[in-house]
């Protein structure tokens, strides 16, 4: 249905998967006019989407085939927005699994400007359906 690890919605908004391994994913996106708010700055939803995707993919890579049998889904997420970003900026979002239990997994995500400045920090919780390990 989609390129490995990349959700259709994430591909639709124009993000690319740069690295994907067990418990870690890194996505990037070059901000365009279509990613903005009325004030011309990056829309917060862009970052929320990339964080959710990065964690979903990193957890998928960690769970392997089991993720296909019993998919995981976001149940809770938060993000603090520390700095803005503008059209032309390249942003990089990294997601890391902090802990994976039988039915719940926890992760964290960071969004940075290309030059390394932190733009946003997030925490995400996923439910693992039918967890039976």
């Amino acid at each position: 249905m989609a390129e490995r690890g990349v959700a259709p919605f994430t591909a639709f908004i124009g993000a690319e998967m740069e690295e994907l391994r067990e418990g870690y994913a890194r996505l990037s996106l070059v901000l365009q006019e279509r990613h903005t708010s009325p004030n011309g700055a990056m829309h917060g939803g862009v970052i929320m989407t990339l964080m959710d995707s990065a964690l979903g993919a990193s957890l998928g890579a960690l769970r392997g085939q089991e993720a296909r049998r019993n998919p995981h889904a976001t149940v809770e997420m938060n993000a603090g927005f520390l700095a803005g970003a503008r059209v032309g900026d390249r942003i990089v979002v990294e997601g890391r699994v902090i802990h994976m239990g039988k039915s719940i997994a926890f992760g964290e995500a960071e969004a940075r400007h290309n030059d390394g400045d932190l733009i946003a920090k997030g925490r995400l919780t996923f439910a693992i359906r039918g967890g039976s390990r």
Binding site: I13, P38, M48, N78
Partner: protein, 143 residues
């Protein structure tokens, strides 16, 4: 910037280009409530085929940004724009392509430098699918 408003849609200020990209449509725009709807399509999904969480969080962010704009007034907002500093969302139920989702944003408190709000997302059948809380900073450029 008005592509998000088809026939019968309400009048209001420009919606975000990002919300137009996603396909959100404004149904109500007032200082009490901003309501945005979307019919889910296959490109709104995650790899397991259900709605991507980013769709809802994006619409929540838009609904709150807009309801705060309505409460503050467009002229005020242009002098001192507001932006999201913190948000959270709990996802209570799933939605699939073909489902209509409706997101409503309301202001809890509007201060001088901070605004607080909450958002709810429901499926067309009325079931609550997500609940969010958002905090915005108001950037006064005149200070």
């Amino acid at each position: 910037m008005s592509a998000g408003r088809g026939p019968g849609a309400i009048e209001g200020p420009p919606s975000s280009p990002f919300t137009e990209l996603i396909g959100g449509r404004f149904e109500e725009w007032s200082e009490d409530c901003v309501r945005i709807s979307l019919v889910l399509e296959p490109h709104h999904t995650n790899p397991s085929g259900v709605m991507h969480g980013g769709v809802i969080t994006s619409l929540m962010d838009e609904a709150l940004g807009q309801v705060i704009a309505a409460a503050r007034g467009l002229e005020t907002m242009q002098v001192a724009p507001h932006s999201t500093v913190e948000m959270n969302a709990s996802f209570l139920a799933a939605a699939r392509p073909g489902d209509r989702v409706v997101v409503e944003g309301r202001v809890l408190r509007l201060g001088k430098s901070i605004a607080f709000g909450e958002a709810e997302a429901r499926r067309g059948d009325g079931e609550l699918i997500a609940k969010g809380r958002l905090t915005f900073a108001i950037h006064d450029r005149s200070g």
